[in-house]
Every structure is written in C-alpha cells, then in structure tokens.
C-alpha cells in the first residue's frame, strides 16, 4: 500500500464531502441503534464468556496436575492455550475498550480489568485505545503500523536494517506479549527521547517488571510446583500455552491492518478531520477475517476489525450483527470491504513484511536523496502537484 494521498487514483476520489458526511451520519445511526438496545442479552453474553473462560482455565490447570501422563499434558495444554487466548482477545481487549462499561459492574470494567499478559492494562490502554485507535494507519502517528520496528508501507522509508524484518517479525511473534510490553514502553524510540521521557519510561518499565514477575511466578513456578512430580511437563505446558497465545494473537493482529487492500494516510491529510472523514479512514484502514463462530470468538471478534474500528466501544457480540449493514454501506459508497479467510490474510500480511524488507530502485533513490539532503541540510523543493495532494483531504468535490 501507499498512503492514499500518494496514489495516482484515490479510492475515494468519487466521494464528495457531502457523501462523506452522509456516510458518517448513517454509521452514527447504526451506532445509536446498538447503544439504545444494549441490555440483558449482551450482559449475559459477556458473563457467559467469562464464566466459560475461567472454567476452562481452572479445568485445564487441574488436568495439568497430572501432566506427567501425556494425554493429560495434551488436553491441559490445548485447554490452557484456548483459555489464554479467550482472556486476552474476547475478554481483556474488549473490556479494556470500555465495551462493557455500561453494565456498571466494577468487575467487568475498563478501569479495573487486568489481563493475563505481561503488559499492564494501563499501558495497553494508552498505546492501543488512545494512540492506535485515534490515529489508525496514519503514517508517523500510528505505531501499530510495523510497531515502530518494521516497514509495512511503501511510504515508510527503507533502511538496510529492515532487511532482517521478516526475522524480527518471526521473533516478535514467538514472544509477542513481551513485544507488546516493549512497544507500549516505546523502547525502540528511546534513543531520541528527552531525559524526562526516559525517566518516565523507567518508571513504567518497573511496572512492567512487576507484572512480568507475577506472571512468570504463576506460570513457571507455582503451578508447576503444585503439580509435584509433573513439575517439568506443567512448566512446559504453560510455556507452550503462552507461545500458542503469542502466535495466534500476533497473526490475528497482523490481519487487522497489514493485508493488501488496506489503506494508509499521511499525517497532513487528517488535520481538521470531520467525524465522517474519521469514519472513512477507519473503513479503509482495516481488514476483516472470514470464518466460523469459534474463529470469531477466538479472535476477540477482531475478525470484524472494520466494525471494531468504527465502533471500538460497542459490545463485541454486536459486530457480527452490524457487519452486513456496514458492508452494505461500503457497497453503496463504492468502497472496498477488505476481507478474507485467516490463512489468506496472514499470508498476505507476511508477504508484505517480506516484500517491503527489500528495497525497490525507487526506495534506494529516495534513500540517496535523503542522505544528500541531510548532508546539505536543505529540503529539496516538493513538486507542486504532490504538495497539493498532501493537503487536500481525500474526498474530491
């Protein structure tokens, strides 16, 4: 993908500003319908998911007490992996979005939920809810685009270090929860940070270490110790469950914004963005995954990434219900609803990571120009046409 403003033919060129505002109004209408009909049915849903997850976790951990016995190890490990995925995706991620705050239940509330992940909820809410969901797919603003370490868009500059990004991405996938913690701390941007910023990062880092200690103590010391002679198999089961969760969540999240067909935006294009334009950016900047009910729950309904980005605080069980209406709006307004089965979307995202690790001739030329510019300390004149494209918001009258 290339930032939408740099494309020769913009996918929104056919929309007038009035179209965009009307689209925003229609999306608001769907939102209102859901908000006004939230009730016992939804509360029952999330309570059922939480109950199921906790039973599954308890049951799996109980089975693992006998993990010396291989079938018990297999069953317990599968159960624990699913329990961890459910907790992180359908429960933790969505509760922290405030999707269930309307229930006024202090136990299921964005301000109190702590998830089964080494990243403290507080850090996640800042980097994910606030930065990523507000600045979705804006180059230079949304660090989820490559997590600050990868190049996932043609408009991100290439450098030789990026040759290794398929390898980094693979490593990140294996230890994803730690990757998220490092990412939430913005560790990769620390070199350029001010002393105050560094001190703040250190303070946040200590919170992460505290959480890591608790998580590690539980998974790799206490539960194995409870298993007695099954100490080592139980430890291995916990390690595998965490690994499975890491690989799964990494894959699902890659499918959200990296597959081909998803658009990115330049920083200037979103200045003074209207509600309609914000909606439009969310529509174009996300991709869905098709599949069965179990798959949707296991992705935390992030398989409805488009609906989730339009309505991050609506209960996740409602995304499937509003999806056909949202899709109908895409069709009515001539926009592409990016969607595909999981393997296809994962492959597409991986292909992008691999492809963009290698420079094209144009990338090398740009790099040379950047170097030259840095050497002379001058900015070259931007061609008038491109300048105009940068400032004009996507809809063209």
């Amino acid at each position: 993908m290339t930032a939408i403003q740099h494309k020769p033919v913009s996918p929104v060129a056919h929309l007038t500003p009035e179209d965009v505002e009307e689209l925003g109004r229609l999306l608001d209408e769907i939102r209102e319908e859901v908000v006004s009909s939230r009730g016992a049915r939804d509360a029952e849903y999330i309570r059922k998911v939480i109950k199921t997850q906790r039973r599954l976790e308890l049951g799996s951990r109980a089975v693992l007490l006998a993990s010396l016995f291989p079938p018990a190890w297999v069953v317990g490990t599968i159960g624990l992996s699913i329990a961890k995925i459910l907790e992180n995706m359908e429960i933790g991620h969505n509760v922290m979005h405030g999707q269930w705050d309307w229930m006024r239940d202090p136990k299921i509330h964005s301000t109190t939920w702590e998830w089964d992940n080494v990243t403290p909820s507080e850090h996640w809410k800042h980097s994910h809810n606030e930065l990523h969901h507000t600045w979705t797919n804006v180059l230079g603003k949304d660090n989820d685009l490559g997590y600050g370490i990868m190049r996932v868009d043609e408009d991100q500059p290439w450098s030789p270090a990026l040759l290794g990004q398929p390898f980094y991405n693979f490593l990140n996938m294996l230890v994803f929860e730690y990757g998220i913690a490092a990412y939430d701390l913005e560790l990769f941007a620390l070199g350029k940070a001010s002393p105050e910023k560094k001190a703040a990062t250190w303070a946040k880092g200590k919170q992460v270490l505290r959480k890591v200690r608790k998580q590690v103590l539980r998974d790799y010391v206490l539960h194995p110790a409870l298993s007695g002679p099954s100490f080592v198999p139980t430890l291995a089961a916990n390690a595998v469950a965490n690994l499975v969760r890491n690989v799964w969540t990494h894959s699902v999240i890659m499918c959200g914004h990296f597959p081909s067909g998803v658009e990115t935006f330049t920083r200037m294009s979103i200045e003074c963005e209207t509600r309609g334009e914000w909606y439009l950016r969310q529509m174009l900047g996300s991709a869905n995954i098709t599949g069965g009910k179990f798959m949707h729950v296991m992705t935390g309904n992030l398989s409805y990434q488009i609906e989730h980005h339009l309505y991050p605080d609506l209960p996740s069980n409602r995304y499937a219900e509003v999806a056909p209406r949202v899709q109908e709006l895409f069709e009515r307004y001539g926009l592409t609803y990016v969607s595909g089965p999981l393997p296809k979307q994962v492959a597409s995202a991986w292909w992008k990571v691999i492809r963009l690790s290698m420079p094209t001739k144009a990338d090398l030329d740009k790099r040379k120009a950047r170097k030259a510019r840095r050497a002379t300390g001058r900015r070259p004149a931007v061609p008038a046409q491109q300048q105009q494209q940068e400032t004009v918001l996507e809809p063209v009258a």
Partner: protein, 365 residues
C-alpha cells in the same frame, strides 16, 4: 524461660494467622491477575464473606409493596433501627444500587428484611417486585443517619407516608418496648395500602402506640395544619418523618415556624431528582473546583479551562482514559444526547471527554 498457657495459645494463634496469610498470598499468586474470589464466585457465590445475599422469601406486603427476606453471605455487622441496606441488582444488564430501610432487627436465622414499594417508573423497585426466592443480590451497608438515639425520648412522633413507613417499622419492631409515648401518623392511599397494617393495628389495640391512619384517597393529603390538629403536642415530641418531599418540606416549614426544628429528623425516600437540563454547576470534588459549564462544553474541557488536572486520551469518546466517577447529578453524552444520572447511593462512571453537564453535577476527581 517458662511459657504460660495463655502465651502458648497466643503464639499458636499467631502462627495460624501467619500461616493463613501465607496461604492467602500463595492463592493470590496462583490466580493473578485475577483474585481467588473471581474463581470462587463461579462455584460458591454465597461462600462466607461474599458481599452478597440470597433472597430466601418474597411476600407481598400490599398490592404495591413486596417484602424481601435476605440472608447475607457475610457476617452482618448489626445495624441501628432505621438504617438502610444497599441492594445492587442487574436491571436489563445494568448494575443499579438503591438503599432500602431495614424493616426489623436481624432474625435468629441470620436473615434481614426490606420492603420495596413499586415507585412509579423506578427501575430497581419495579425489578424487585418480580424477584424470586433463590435470587442473589449484591449487598452493602448498613448505613444511614435516620435512627433513634440510645436514650429513648419521653414523647415520640412518627410521621410517615407510603413506603416512608419502612424505616419506622424497623424502629418500632426493635424499640417499641422502651418508647413510653408513641404516636404514629401514617398516610396511605387506602386502608388496603397500609403496609404492616395488622401489626400496627394490633399494637394500637394493645395501647402500645397511638395510630392515626390517613387514607388520602378519601381524606386528601396530610398537611402541616392537619398534623397540628391530630397531634396537639407536636412541638414537644421528638419527631421522625419520612415520606414524599412535599410532605417533608411542609413539616419542616411548620417546625421552623413553631420552633421545634431541633426535634425534627427527616429522611427522603425519593432522591431529589435532577431534571436534566443543559449546562449547570460542575463540582470537581477532590480538586476543590466548582464552575459553571454550558450544555455544549464537555466536563473535560470545562475542567481543564478551570485548571483541574483531569485524565484524558483521545478526546473523542473512544479510548476510555478519561473515565471518572460521577457522584451526583446528570450529564449528557454530547454525541447522542443520552443522559446519565447518578446519586450518592448509585454513582456512575462517565467519560468526561464526551459528557456535558445536564444540570448540577459532581465528579470525584
């Protein structure tokens, strides 16, 4: 060194305590990031210590009032007659809390009773009318200041209307024996609408209290003038009044005029409802800032303009970083006009970046 028997017992109990503390810490470490209670709630929601109660019996009190017999799971700390129990129930998926007067002392079997009148349009009261035995409710309390002093007054007057009788029946059931001279003036729509009627009429027949029933459907609303006629020595009596705001205001005015305000104790059983308007006085409690905000300015923007340090994030209602408790009053969601109200007994959490004042409101921030 010789160890006396008491010391040995003490050191054993210290050891037991520290052992149970250690076990508690291990259980917590096994459950992190949840707490053991989260798992216990799955299998034993009524385990000892849980802040819940089971509804063990439901009895219609009148056509429009229901008595609930509740067994708390935790050790009830005891209560003074007249105090309230806070009940939390999920109404259409939303946890709502309301206070109800305890209508008697805790019984030998550990149960407590409250009587719930069907307030017109009251979400919780309507819900509780149809609650069934076996249901679990969240419980908190006791609290309240509408209570009798330990030293019994020589002359006592109770003025109640409708469900305003509920704290008073609690006082009478516990303390009637030590109150030498009691008058109860109670208003209800008809004779059939009088709660605890049989009990009250029995006491009256036995001469243990003077009961004045006022049936408003036929005799009209009770006024302060009526009260002076019915109870000529009203100014000499220690008076507890509970009922609709109009009645209480009138009694308070009469007490003020006749100089017996110190003897008057009132409790309002309907909160002073905030009629949602646009804009209002916003109090940022902990910051100690009070300011006027219009209906178009968000609580976040108004607070920041007034120098209050508030949490914030996206400033457009999606990230939930700005959520703070609304302790009293009404706010309106500027995106869709939906009003959220809160009272001291049922505070709500609101997003300040998309909420504007819809009347006077207080935030705990």
């Amino acid at each position: 060194m010789t160890i006396t028997k008491t010391e040995a017992v003490e050191s054993t109990s210290t050891r037991t305590r520290s052992l149970s503390r250690t076990l508690g810490r291990v259980a917590e470490a096994l459950c992190t990031p949840l707490v053991p209670a989260d798992y216990l709630d799955l299998v034993a929601p009524m385990r000892p210590g849980a802040r819940r109660a089971k509804v063990v019996a439901v009895r219609p009190e009148t056509a429009r009032a229901t008595t609930l017999v509740l067994r708390p799971a935790f050790r009830w700390p005891g209560h003074r007659p007249g105090e309230d129990l806070r009940l939390g129930v999920d109404v259409d998926g939303v946890r709502l809390w309301r206070s109800y007067s305890l209508t008697g002392p805790q019984r030998a079997d550990g149960t407590l009773t409250v009587t719930v009148g069907a307030l017109d349009g009251g979400a919780v009261s309507s819900h509780l009318q149809s609650v069934r035995a076996g249901a679990l409710v969240e419980v908190d309390g006791p609290d309240g200041v509408f209570t009798l002093p330990d030293a019994a007054p020589a002359k006592t007057l109770f003025v109640t209307a409708g469900t305003g009788l509920t704290p008073v029946i609690g006082m009478l059931r516990t303390r009637l024996a030590d109150l030498p001279d009691v008058v109860l003036v109670h208003s209800a729509r008809t004779a059939d609408d009088v709660m605890f009627a049989e009990e009250l009429r029995d006491w009256a027949a036995q001469g243990r209290l003077r009961l004045v029933e006022r049936h408003t459907a036929t005799a009209g609303r009770l006024t302060a003038a009526d009260l002076a006629d019915l109870v000529p020595d009203v100014a000499e009596r220690e008076t507890w009044a509970c009922g609709p705001n109009g009645l209480l205001d009138e009694i308070a005015a009469a007490a003020e005029a006749q100089g017996w305000t110190q003897r008057l104790h009132t409790e309002r059983f309907r909160p002073v409802l905030v009629e949602p308007g646009t804009g209002g006085t916003v109090t940022y409690g902990r910051a100690g800032v009070t300011l006027e905000a219009d209906g178009a300015t968000t609580l976040l923007a108004a607070g920041e303009a007034g120098g209050v340090l508030l949490p914030s994030g996206c400033r457009m209602g999606i990230c939930f970083q700005c959520v703070v408790p609304l302790t009293e009053g009404a706010v309106r969601d500027v995106r869709n006009g939906v009003v959220t109200t809160a009272t001291a007994e049922d505070p709500a959490l609101v997003q300040t970046c998309i909420s504007a004042a819809a009347g006077p409101c207080s935030l705990d921030v």
